[in-house]
Structures are given as structure tokens and as C-alpha cells.
Symmetry: C2
Subunit: 249 residues, 2 copies
Amino acid sequence: MSFARFFAPAAGVPGDRILLPVDEAEHLTRVLRLSTGDRVRVFNGRGAEFEAVVDAADRDGVRLTLGAPCTPAPEPRVAITLAQAALKGDKMDDVVRDAVMIGVAAILPVVTARTEISVAALTRSRRRERWERIAVSSAKQCGRAVVPLIAEPSQFDLHVALSESTFPSPVFVLVEPNMAGGVPLGELDTTTIPARATLVVGPEGGWTADEVHAASALGSLITLGGRTLRADATALVALAALFTKYGEY
Amino acid sequence: MSFARFFAPAAGVPGDRILLPVDEAEHLTRVLRLSTGDRVRVFNGRGAEFEAVVDAADRDGVRLTLGAPCTPAPEPRVAITLAQAALKGDKMDDVVRDAVMIGVAAILPVVTARTEISVAALTRSRRRERWERIAVSSAKQCGRAVVPLIAEPSQFDLHVALSESTFPSPVFVLVEPNMAGGVPLGELDTTTIPARATLVVGPEGGWTADEVHAASALGSLITLGGRTLRADATALVALAALFTKYGEY
């Protein structure tokens, strides 16, 4: 039998008595209708997961006592950071959900030359907090005990990003089919599997020539077959391909 | 500059004068507001694409004259058939859209032991026609000139399917992480690239033990990492992984 899973950043060691975050407490009581005495699992977002029992579920919140550690879904061997140009409307929500599901280590929302929303607008609409909630929800569903970092949205400047090591090497920049300089992922040497890597995915309108030029000096320009992928499905396909190349599947 | 693309099954050779299907004519006139003299492209769904000029766009429909052949997005080297258990609600729509986008050759909607909708209900609600429209729409967007076959939904019986060769070999049946008998895709020998292959993906509730037993005698049971994938994203991830293994990317 499988137990409902909840995100509890306070979870540390067996025996801890912890309070669930408000959102998680609502999920436990209102959606799943669990209460005192019920058994669940909690994960702390940093890789640890525990059995737990509900001690109290009332207007003061949900209190749990942690039991034995248990084994969450494994993390991929390669910690991939996804730098994704913010997409229009709800599409970025789907990218965050899917990237967490497939196993990214971190998501850096970036604003490129052709991105149709500004850093200021993303910040004002508190989009990062929204994506963090989506990341928690996706981690709950896919079985991970890690909630990937969602960085504050930032202006895309590959030179700055690399000099500050916010983009772990090797860096792969996905470009449109037939773009000059782009090579199929399969032609890259992936016999050495790195500990970390970065995948950079552009916006609906693609990259400018200047951006591609900058990127080509700092990482590999890769293509993914000759068909045009929907912007909100591109990262998932590219991540699946990269994980496959790195022997994850 | 890129031209709008329309699906015209009647398109045969340069010089042909053809009538667009009603749905496509509406797209041309009402959505894109094109009319007499405008240049477009048409593809016939069987791999051929042509330049074309609108001769007339009125209440009798849209008539075009075909010009020179042009090159659509390339088809994958391996023609993959996706046998997908019908999913609930609109989720199957997304699977069809994404599978066409990534490049499948055909989609066989199947009803398994744990599929929550019957063949009769799928037929009564004319779901196949809906999926065919979605396949056309996706082909238009991704640049393919091939509209994959969508088969009539059928009861899943792997023995019958294989004896009748409706599932081209080799057959890969995706099973949940940690299921006995499942091997990571990476452990399969894919040095020989076949002309065709079949990927079989189950429903939200997974396979029964009987189904897995039958499948294991007839194809490879494969897993895709340890994280649980959303049912409506599973086929896309598996197809991306399989195309990567076969050197498509």
C-alpha cells in the first residue's frame, strides 16, 4: 500500500515532532481527509523521507511525529540545471512541473531578447513563489524527496552566468533544427558522465543571432531532430534525451 | 519568411488544382484571414509538401494551385508505433498531440484491464475522429508532411496484436520503476537500428500482473528511471528516450 506524501521542510530525524506547512496541512485534512492516527510519509525537500503519524489535525495545524526513514524515488546521477526562458501564460507552469517530474536539480527562469515578459513583471506577479508551489506539488507526485531550487527570474546573460558559475558545466544550449552551428545531441561525446550539467532552452520566438553567437563560445549548441517542438514541451524532450545520453534510463 | 501550412490530402503533383478540406479552409480564411493570391504551403499527410497559391476563397471553399515541391521536416529513421492505453478526460488529446510532434508513425489507442473507458464508449464519442483532427493540427505546427495513422480504439490483447503484426517489432513495453522484469532502456542493445518499432504505454493505473506476464514473452519490459511520470507525459518521455537510443537526436 502506498501512503500520501507531504512536504515538511522541518523534517530532520526520526522522533522529530513537526508542524506541516499550511498548504500541506490543508492538503492532508481537506483534500485527503486524514486526521489523528493516520499514517503518512513526509519528505524534507533535501532528499530525506520518513514514515510519520498524525498526532493532531485541528485549527492550530497538523502535527506529526516522524518514524523510520524510508527510500524516496532515486535522484538522477547527473544533476541537471534547466535554464529556461520564461514562456507566456501558464506554459512555464507546465515546464516547471515536468522538469521536476523528470528529475532536474534546479530551474533558472531567464529573460532573453525575445522573451515576451520582463523580469520586473515576473517579480511583481510573484511568479517564483508560484513555481515553487508547483515544484513541491510535482515532487509529491513523482516520488522525489528533493524539491529543486527555483531561482529568482533574471536577465539572460550567458557571459555573466558562466563567470559566476550559476550555469554548471557542461552547458548545452538547445537551438532550432537547421540552425548553423547546432549539432545533434548524439554527436557529442558523452562517454564521461559529469556530476552536473546545464541545459538552456529559449523562448517561443527562439534566440537572436547575438545570443547564439555568445552561447556557442561557452557551451554546445544542440539540436533535437528536425521537427519543431512546442515551446512548453521542448525542455521535457531535451531533458529526456540528455538523461538517456547520460545512461539514466 | 515562413508560410502557413495546410493539410490537403488531395495534393498530388505540381500544377494540381485542389479544394481544401472544410476545416482547413476555415483556418485559412477565418483564422489567418488569407484570400485569393496569397501564397501558402500544403502537405498531403503522406509525406509530400508543395508551395501553393490561393485561386479562390469563397462560400464554395478554398481552391489552390500547387507549385513546386518543398521539403517538410524530416521523418525519423525509425518508424515508431505508439500503442497507448486510452487516458481519462482530455489527457489522451495531449498524448496524441505530443506523439505526433515528436515524430511517431502511428498511434494505436488501446483499452487495457485498468483503462477507465471502454472501447464502446470511445467509439460512441467518436474519439478517433477527434484524435485525427489533433494529429493534423500537430503535424501543421511541427512541420511534418506526414499525418500519422490513428487506429480505431481496440481491446488490448498483446498475443493477438503480435500475431497479426499490428505491433511492429521490436516491441518495448514501458513498466513502472522497480517492476520485476523491467530493465532500463540503456541496457538494451540498440546497435542495430530497426526500420520499425513499437512502444506500448499503459494507463494511469498501470498494468496487471497478467498483462506484464504476457508482454514479457513478446517484447522488452523497459523502465525509465526511478521517478513516477505523469500518465499524459509518459509517452513523450519514452519516445524521446527511444529516439535518442536510436540516434535520432
